[in-house]
Assembly symmetry: C2
Homo-oligomer: 225 residues x 2
DNA sequence: AGGAAAGCAAGAGCACTGCTCTCGTTATGG
DNA sequence: CCATAACGAGAGCAGTGCTCTTGCTTTCCT
């Protein structure tokens, strides 16, 4: 019976629960969480977990994809505001808040790659959501004429960006694509620096303010203000 | 006999060799390198390694300190040029080159922190060499009048930076300290993004050019050009 | 309805890990 | 010269990822 399949439903629930427990372990053990410990927490034999994830790496991959989607969705929902600059600042703050709320998930996707782990193709889509969102906000602003001129870029990398610009937003200046990607890099770099302890003893009180300062710098280089 | 002590000399050599072998393993296993494997490579029992490092974490700490000093020294030696901007660009390129030559050492010090590992106090000194170097280059430029005005900073974090500025470089505007730290964050973020695969499929040919573009952006926000 | 096939959970087992403890050996220093 | 400290090796403990076998249950097809 059951066109949906009872077993399939149970399987989906189990899969989800394993991921949930694994996410909890992520907070204490980071990327080298123990599959056996996860199984123990669920009251099942470690070998049973392998029915759901072929290896620890596959579990990690699932967590990585979920994390990318989670932060991507958060950013998309936060990209609101009267003008494009407000949307940009809002979304970057949302990403930072997401990272602060769960530093280990952030480390999982934006920290150093797990040794020996090779990210499969399934992760590239979710991984690009935030940068594409930034690019979209910038593109809209540009088409509305809200982007001031900045120095054009030259050199080989300018041609690479010209190709990207032509594909995603014909007519947009290549330097705008470069500045957008640079803004994304600044954002993730600022968050990682804060989370990974690089700011200790210099900015301890108002890290949010310093983050916004940096994002406004990135916004200026894009062409806002 | 031996005022220096034969045993002490041998011990120092052994310590250094263990670190060297461990650094090799770092390239394949990352931060969760195997102490036993290191011992095996050296033809000794794993328990013997504990005569030199009380734990795996202590070995990692030694590697971390060495890495900080190595990149710091590299940056210091590269901070040459006719003007301060040239020195800044040169040192950032040197840091990037250092990271590209040994990504795993970079990940060790600027990547996600090893779970359960708490960096001891010995690491903070070496860890600050690069940022202090940048601050020094900027300070010199400011005192020579080579730094253009930029928008002042406000808010609570501005007071924090004012305190830092007063201590390190009395008279220097707080926003300059903020911009210097931001430049450092941009640098490490740009390198990490490149090394950790965040730039795939957008900048594949001329990553050096894109890096310099970003560093020139940071330089502009400091007040160069 | 009945039987084959597939899914599932558990346990034992392998090779590995960090780390501790004990045991002989060797160099150091009073 | 001899007690002491440093040293290397080995065994052992508890843990790891992963595989394989064994029994049971659900699903699917004829």
């Amino acid at each position: 019976m059951s066109a949906s399949g009872v077993r399939a439903r149970v399987r989906a629930e189990m899969t989800e629960e394993i991921k949930a427990v694994a996410r909890r372990h992520l907070a204490t053990d980071g990327a080298n969480l123990s599959l056996r410990a996860v199984a123990r927490d669920m009251g099942m034999a470690s070998s049973a977990v392998y029915r759901y994830f072929a290896s620890r790496d596959e579990l990690l991959t699932a967590l990585i994809i979920d994390a990318y989607n989670s932060v991507g969705e958060t950013a998309e929902n936060a990209a609101t505001g009267d003008n494009a600059l407000a949307r940009f600042l809002s979304l970057t703050h949302a990403v930072r808040d997401w990272a602060l709320a769960d530093p280990h998930q952030w480390a999982l996707i934006y920290g150093s790659p797990v040794p020996g782990y090779q990210a499969p193709q399934d992760t590239v889509g979710p991984a690009t959501r935030v940068i594409l969102l930034i690019a979209d906000v910038v593109k809209t602003a540009y088409e509305n004429g809200d982007i001031a001129d900045r120095r054009p870029i030259t050199g080989r990398f300018a041609e690479e960006f010209a190709a990207v610009a032509e594909r995603y937003s014909p007519g947009a200046p290549p330097r705008l694509v470069a500045a957008s990607l640079s803004a994304f890099v600044q954002m993730s770099g600022a968050i990682s620096a804060e989370l990974f302890g690089q700011l200790s003893n210099s900015v301890d009180e108002d890290r949010r303010g310093f983050f916004e300062y940096q994002m406004r710098g990135a916004a200026y280089l894009i062409g806002w203000e």
